[in-house]
């Protein structure tokens, strides 16, 4: 549980309203800076993007922000407004309402914890289309609500291959935030990727219970490095602290969310990088055409390598990845693109039980129900 958000709940009304005011301040500033609309016959449609962290976090939120600005630039009939640093509590509802009040017709709620607020908001605002990034709705979809994501674990498993090939201690470190399905899939895929090139590779996991708490990230990275880990990767919103800790210790890094190779050019192996703009553009076009309800985006939309629309792509390789290795990784990428799966069985949980039976390829819904870490991962998911 995040200390800051706890306290924000305590200060309640004051906190929520002040934070959404901050949100709107940045909303105002970015819309004036970037929401340029060319003069056209049809009035521009306003599209809002809400981010949980800073729009310049060298990570998850920066990727969202950069894509939103690409949309603003490329789509002349769209006006983009953004709000960042919006916590995953009722502040997001207030921010969505504020965006609607300033004319937004389409809202992208881009953090995992926004899900219940986004879905409720869609139900109570039938004229607004609400999209949630990374959530999964098992039940019936309201006609104006959808989730979208990519099979993040595909490039993550390729990053695992790079990590497994360079490690000397056979210990890889994974700093994650919360034990949510996306993260469990990523940890499992990372270890499976590493195992495919190095049968002795083990992934040590540490969680921080926060998407971006630099102090906890530093503690986590230090603990892993002292344990002998020589490649660090992460599922955090902001990357720089973990990369900095790896750099200081001479360890390697596999990035996530955003190409941060400039922070540690020699230690950077590769990473997974979001390219959201095509997805956002297609969704907005679908809404503008009036055919959103019943469309592929009115469900749990997932981009994959196989369908050539995975929003998460593989970052360029760093100098530590040999050409033999990069050829091998790119060959694996090509296999995934032609339809093979990261999670084809047999795959075993840490306790030896079968996660995926031999020869079986799980569906996306089944992958979303993965609740165990695979054999080779060291550490446990926090139990509540």
């Amino acid at each position: 549980m995040r200390i800051g958000s706890k306290l924000r709940k305590i200060v309640g009304l004051v906190g929520a309203s002040a934070i959404s005011m901050i949100g709107l301040a940045s909303c105002g500033s970015s819309s004036s800076a970037s929401g340029t609309t060319t003069a056209s016959a049809t009035p521009a449609t306003t599209v809002g993007f809400i981010m949980v962290g800073s729009r310049s976090d060298y990570g998850y939120n920066q990727a969202v922000y950069v894509a939103s600005q690409t949309v603003a630039k490329d789509m002349s009939n769209v006006k983009v407004i953004t709000a960042d640093n919006i916590p995953e509590n009722d502040s997001v509802t207030q921010t969505m309402q504020a965006m609607v009040n300033s004319g937004a017709k389409i809202i992208f709620a881009t953090s995992y914890g926004y899900f219940p607020y986004a879905e409720k908001f869609a139900v109570s605002h039938p004229s607004i289309t609400v999209l949630h990034q990374g959530g999964y709705l098992a039940g019936k979809f309201p006609p104006n609500f959808g989730t979208y994501w990519g099979e993040a674990f595909e490039p993550v498993s390729l990053g695992g291959m790079a990590a497994g090939s360079v490690t000397k201690s056979n210990k890889l470190g994974f700093v994650y935030a919360f034990p949510i399905p996306q993260t469990i899939q990523n940890i499992d895929a990372f270890e499976l990727g590493a195992l495919s090139v190095n049968p002795n590779a083990k992934t040590y996991v540490v969680n921080t219970s926060n998407w971006c708490d630099p102090l906890k990230q530093k503690e986590a990275a230090t603990a892993l490095l002292s344990q002998g880990v020589d490649v660090l990767t992460q599922h955090q919103d902001c990357q720089a602290t973990v990369i900095g800790a790896a750099k200081a210790a001479g360890a390697y890094v596999v990035g996530y969310h955003y190409d941060a190779s400039s922070l540690d050019p020699s230690g950077w192996l590769t990473g997974s990088v979001w390219n959201w703009a095509p997805v956002y553009t297609n969704i907005i076009k679908t809404v503008l055409s009036g055919h959103f309800a019943g469309s592929i985006y009115n469900t749990n939309w997932v981009g994959t390598f196989a369908t050539n629309n995975n929003p998460l792509t593989l970052a360029p390789f760093g100098p530590a990845v040999t050409s033999t290795m990069s050829t091998k990784i790119l060959a694996e990428e090509a296999k995934l693109k032609s339809g093979s799966s990261v999670f084809t069985g047999p795959i075993y949980c840490q306790d030896g039980s079968v996660l995926v039976p031999a020869g079986v390829t799980p569906t996306y819904a089944q992958i979303n129900n993965f609740s165990c870490l695979v054999k080779g991962v060291v550490g446990t998911l926090p139990q509540s």
């Binding site: 200390i3 060298y58 640093n85 102090l215």
Partner: protein, 303 residues
């Protein structure tokens, strides 16, 4: 290096980021003003230190930037609450939100910068002592500064007229006024100085242990610092214990996981709060709380 030692080392490094703001809050509260804006002062200090470090290339100079930024917000809080008689709690929260907003606006440009953080100084001789050496004597300069501050505060509060003046202002400001001193000025200075220390706590994060700036990077540790002062019933040495307790638990949570040891992490996370709660119950059971009396009421005479 084993897990316990690792937790203690991390506990001192991370705990220092809580200890410095706690000592600052202690000084302010002893003068009779609570500063809930400590989180904001810490955040401002983190950015101030980072901005100066980026500009000058020196993390050491950055510390001065941290002090200045923290003290600036402390000055706002003390002016509002002491001279304008604004509600202390409301004024503190306003300072927090103000700092959160301003650092988001001005800090965004610094996220992509990088700096060389404060160097780790091994004290000759002492750092070679098994166990104690690496835990206590192999840190950046702010950790040593915090040791010195704790000792100095104990001495000042117990042995000097200055300490007496500070405590008297926190207990009976009118008496201090009648004795010919200016209690409001004492409070203004105490709170501003305390906020400067909170700023150094922020610097310990941005240019020290972590070595990066992110918006809202203090993640609530400034509030923990305020809680630690209550936990420690306004005694500097106990403040040190409390801050390190939080630091060690924070580090231990990572270290235990890195060793693959299964713990109920949520329980672990709640331990320091549980300890604070028990400490508060114990303190109140004794009957006499150490809380400065003026904390509970407004200053009546600002002459």
């Amino acid at each position: 290096m084993n897990g316990i030692e690792q937790s203690l080392i991390g506990g001192v490094e991370g705990g220092t980021a809580i200890l410095l703001p706690s000592l600052g809050e202690l000084i302010g509260e002893l003068s009779g003003v609570i500063n809930l804006g400590t989180e904001g002062c810490m955040l401002a200090g983190a950015l101030g230190a980072y901005a100066v470090a980026v500009t000058t290339g020196s993390a050491l100079l950055g510390i001065l930037g941290g002090i200045a930024a923290g003290a600036f917000f402390g000055l706002i809080h003390s002016y509002l609450s002491v001279y304008r008689k604004a509600d202390q709690l409301a004024s503190g929260l306003v300072v927090w939100f103000l700092a959160l907003g301003l650092t988001s606006v001005f800090g965004t440009g610094y996220v992509n910068d990088s700096i060389t953080p404060l160097t780790i100084i091994s004290i000759p001789g002492l750092s070679k002592i098994p166990w104690i050496g690496p835990i206590l004597f192999k840190h950046d300069i702010l950790v040593y500064l915090s040791y010195a501050l704790v000792v100095a505060l104990v001495v000042i509060l117990k042995k000097t007229r200055l300490g007496l003046l500070l405590r008297a202002t926190g207990e009976r400001p009118e008496v201090v006024g009648v004795a010919g001193n200016r209690p409001a000025l004492v409070q203004l200075i105490a709170v501003t100085l305390g906020a400067g220390l909170a700023g150094i706590g922020g610097a310990q994060l941005s240019v020290g242990y972590v070595g990066n700036w992110f918006n809202d990077m203090t993640s609530g540790y400034g509030f923990i610092a305020v809680a630690v002062v209550l936990f420690a019933s306004w005694k500097p040495a106990r403040v040190m214990v409390g801050a390190y307790l939080f630091g060690v638990v924070l580090a231990a949570s990572s270290v235990l996981q890195a060793h693959g040891i299964a713990v109920n992490q949520y329980l672990l996370d709640s331990l320091p709060y549980l300890a604070t709660l028990i400490a508060l119950i114990a303190v109140s059971k004794k009957g006499g709380s150490n809380a400065p009396e003026a904390l509970t009421r407004a200053l009546t005479d600002t002459t």
